[in-house]
Each structure stands twice: as structure tokens, then as C-alpha cells.
Symmetry: C2
Subunit: 349 residues, 2 copies
Amino acid sequence: MIKIVIDAMGGDYAPEEQVKGAIEALNKDKDFAVVLAGDEEKLKAELAKYEFDPSRVEIVHAPDVITGDDVPTKAVREKKNSSTVAAFRVLKEGGADGLVSSGATGAVLAAGIMVLGRIKGISRPALCPAIPNLRGDQTLLCDCGANLECKSINLAHFAIMATAYAQAVYGIEKPKVGLLNNGTEDHKGDLVHQEANALLKTMDCIDYYGNVEGRDIMLNTDIDIVVADGYTGNIALKAVEGCAKTMGNLMKKAFTKNLFTKLRSALVYDVIKGFKSSMDYEIMGGSMFLGLKKAVVKGHGNSKARGFCACVLQAVNAVRGNMVEKISEMLEKIDAASIAPPASSEEEK
Amino acid sequence: MIKIVIDAMGGDYAPEEQVKGAIEALNKDKDFAVVLAGDEEKLKAELAKYEFDPSRVEIVHAPDVITGDDVPTKAVREKKNSSTVAAFRVLKEGGADGLVSSGATGAVLAAGIMVLGRIKGISRPALCPAIPNLRGDQTLLCDCGANLECKSINLAHFAIMATAYAQAVYGIEKPKVGLLNNGTEDHKGDLVHQEANALLKTMDCIDYYGNVEGRDIMLNTDIDIVVADGYTGNIALKAVEGCAKTMGNLMKKAFTKNLFTKLRSALVYDVIKGFKSSMDYEIMGGSMFLGLKKAVVKGHGNSKARGFCACVLQAVNAVRGNMVEKISEMLEKIDAASIAPPASSEEEK
């Protein structure tokens, strides 16, 4: 049976919402089990609130917490009894097939690389969130912050990893991949992006669409994946979040300005609610941390049970869909010659 | 009297909407005049549709048009009779104090630098659009596409230019400036952004807030200006546009899904309308092209009269508020030592 290890102490509302979310996931999908890493006593107290099949829940005692104030690599080395490090240790040692954490991003990235390790051939693992789009489902944005500066070969790897993710978790047979750039023409962007655009065109294992612009992330219904260097991807992701929140707030304001509109607001409440849920980051789950030896999902720090539950199911589906194996296969299939990195990426050949 | 020269043939709906917008602007502000550069016969035919004071409208015959397919620098050198080049020539030769164009962006940037010229001390002029924000007014984003790669000194100049723009056009005495980065801490971003953050802190002529993230562009009500390299700014701007359009479309869909919601949709029509207008790019006017010897406004290519009118008034206000002079003064006031560019920007000292 598939096992998912949970960093139960990571997150603003841990361990309450993490435990609640894990139990919700167990109720939604009957074919997996969880290992909760965290303070045993606290976890038992939380678990006592729910009914569940005890054979599907284990606890690994790890009372320490890594916070956003800790220096990630240092914390991973020194806080061996933190829930984050313990969870990755369970994963590494075969006690689980996938991991979910809403802990500090830096610590999750560091523990992923230092404790679990990368897939052979991948030098830069990447964070890949799912962004709601006009089509009504999700566009994957890879990378969005794990790698500040990238070479073209890294961007090619992001395309491969996100393709395997879209196939395994979302069941998209031939996901369409765009490269985030400041225009659609081939000459757009700096040298790295020009090289990456040329490289992606040669790769048979992905379905390449071409350069895309910032507006395509949500608006272009022909693409499933947007590949970006981590710096630009991070800014695009947050720009979109800020815009969605601002529009949500302004809409609320417009509807509650006076009593008359308040009345009408009640009438349209469920329409607004439906609209808001189609833009809801929580139901989109967390960011897949791609390029590691097993499936790792990074949930929002402020995840509540509903969002965390989505993250757990995402991890289950990634394991079930053989995401990591798919990435390895695609890397092997690539004609080494065709993807030989250009001069500027020489060292990573 | 202030004179604004209009590239009347530039834009998807030129010259109809450009002439209409110019006349609207003349009716809204009685204290300026326009020079229309374009095909004299066509312009006269358009003008015949409106009543206006003929002493406030001149025509400069320039029948050619530069399109998006032209190579900008080549077109500016060769198409001397294009409305864009003619308009910039009028501006350069003192026949006008400001310029508005909805023509091809590349051509406007090229003509601005090649025909009109830069302010002394500014090596990189920048495009600065106004983005609607949560506060209900605008946040200026500088640069958003004129400069792909920037040095820290360029980012410092963007801060100065946008500050002068906010003071002159929006009457903000001490506009607050943020630097777009992938996090708020001082160590965030690449070397250029770290240098720029350090440099901006030393500058007395601007009110520096610190690093800001993508979400702050619309959501942070404490800032008036976001400074960015042109590549990242371009992607952030378009990401926000894509998100706003997607949300607008999804909202419309939610309201027209069935007859019952259609009925309610009619009831809430004016609320939605009010909401949409608060997010309307048209009423925000165009992008100020900062760093040139005179005020230049770049309107959207698909500007209609209402949007173009806003651009013309923006140019008038920039002239009236002495925007260009303010930029020069701020550049002079800067203690040369304090803003000495770091090693990586050596050549532009």
C-alpha cells in the first residue's frame, strides 16, 4: 500500500490542520496510509478527535520544528529531531513513497536535496505550483523559486519534469509546454532563454508550444505547462496572486458599498462563491517539488485542512502515476546529442 | 500654451480614435493645443466630424505609417514621412512640449532615443505604465520592457524618473518606491538587485521602501512605485493583465451560466460595471516613456478615443508638472559619491 509521510509540525496551523487534512485525505482515498512525523503526544491528542482506521496511521516521534527564521541548510544538518528532517529520513529509508510538508520552504528544499537526494541527471530540482486558468483547470508553473538563475539545460529539465507530473497526476497525455519570455518571437529574451527555446524545439519527449508571455499563464487555454527560471517564475506567480486577491477584495467592496448593493450581494452570493472557488489556490493543492528521488509536495505555510488534504492526495497520485519513474525514463530516452547543452551550460553536460 | 504632438496614424484604430481622443482631451482641458502628425487629408476628414477651436489644432502632413512588422531602428531612419518620426521631429524642434503615440512600441522607443534624445545622465530610458491597485488608484511599474537587462545604476535611475513622474502627474509629494525582487530580505535576488537595493537606500531624493514581491504591485497600499528590470517588469505586467482578464471572463461566465443567474446578472450589472472600471487599463492612460528630453506617452496599440484622451491629458500634466525638469534636478542633486555605481556598473559612471 502507498505510504505518504507527513511533516505534521510544519505550517502556521500545525499540527491541528495537518492532522485533520491527513484524516480527510484518508477518508477520500481508501488505498493509502500515512506516517505522521511530529510530537507524538500532540499528534495523539489531535488524532483522538477523529475516527479512522489505526492500521493506516503511524507516528514517528520528532518534536522539533524548523521555522522560517532558521538558516535552512544549517537547520537541516542540526535539527535532526525536527518533523521536517525526520519526515525526509523516513522517505529516504523506504518508510514512505511520498512526502507532504507545509513547513518553511527553504528547509523543505534543503532537506529534499540533502536528505532525500536528486534524480540522476537532474542538477536543479524545481518547485512547480498549479495556477488556476481560464480553461477552468490548472497551468503548471515550473520553476517558481527554487533556482534563482538557470541555464538552458535546467529549463529543459523543468519541461521534462513538469511533463511527467502533468501526465502522472492530471492524466494529460501530451501536455503542451510554453517557455515564459518577454515575447513570443524566437529572438526574445536573453541568451539563456534563446538557447532554451532552441533546445526545447529539438526535444521529442515533450510537446513544445514555443515562447509564451506573462498573460499566457492564465489566459492561454492551449498550454498546460509554463517553464520559467525561478526568479521570473516567482515574480509572475506572486504578481498573479496579488492581482487575484486585489480583484477579490475590490469585488467584495463593490458589493457591500451600500445597503442596496448588500441586498443584491446576498442574491449573488453563490455565484460569487462559485467564481471564487474557481480561483481558489487551496483546492489546487501545493507545489510539487520536482527532481527528487520521490514525490514531495510543498503545501502553503498557511494551509488549512482542506488545502492540506489536497496536497496529500496530490502526493498519492504522483506515486500512483509513477511520476518519478516517468521523469527518469524521459531523461534516459533523450538523445544525449540532441540535448547537449550549449556552450554557456558546458559544465553541466 | 502647452502643445502636445500626436502620432495620429499610430494604433489599431488610427486615425479615427486618435483624432476623436485628441478632441475629447481638448474639451476636457481648455489650456493646451495639439499638433496632429499624419495624412493631412484623412485627418481633415476626421476633424470635420467634430466642433473645436481651430486655433488649438495644427496638422503636420506625414502620410507613412510604421507597423509592428518594421524593424524599429531601420524604420525610424528610413520612414522620415511616417507619422511617428514626424511627431518626434516636431517635438525635437520645439514645435511641441510633449508627445503621444499608440504606434508600434519598438518604433516609439527607437524614435524617442534616436530623434528626440535622452536626458543628460540617463543611459536607459524606461517604459512606466500605471497599474490599478487595491488602494483604488495606481502603482507605477518602471521599467516594463524597454531594457531587458539592467545594472543597479539603471534601476536607481528608474526610481528617480518614476518619482518625478508621480510628483508631476499624480501630485504625490513623496512617492514610496519598492524594488521588485523575489523576497523582501536584503540578501534576495541576484547581485544586480542586491546592489540596487543597497544603492536605493543611500539616495535621499527618493523615499525608498525596500524590496517588494510580485504580489505587492497591486496589493501593497503603502507603495506608489515599483522599480524593476525590464524583463521581469514586462512579465509581471503581463501576468497581472492575464489574471485580470481571466478573472473578468470567469466572473462573466459565472453570471451568465443559466437564466436565473442571468436575471440576477442584470440586477448587479452596475456593481460589476463599477468593479470593472476600477480595474480598467484604459482609464489609467498609457505608459510614460521616461528619460527622454520631453514628456512622451505610449498608449496601448488598441486604444480607443477614451483611452487615448487619457494619454493626451497625461502628457499635458507631465509638461505642466515639469516632470523632465524634476528628473534633471534630482540627477544633479544626487551626491555623485553616494550613487557611484558599484564595480559591475563601472562603465556607466
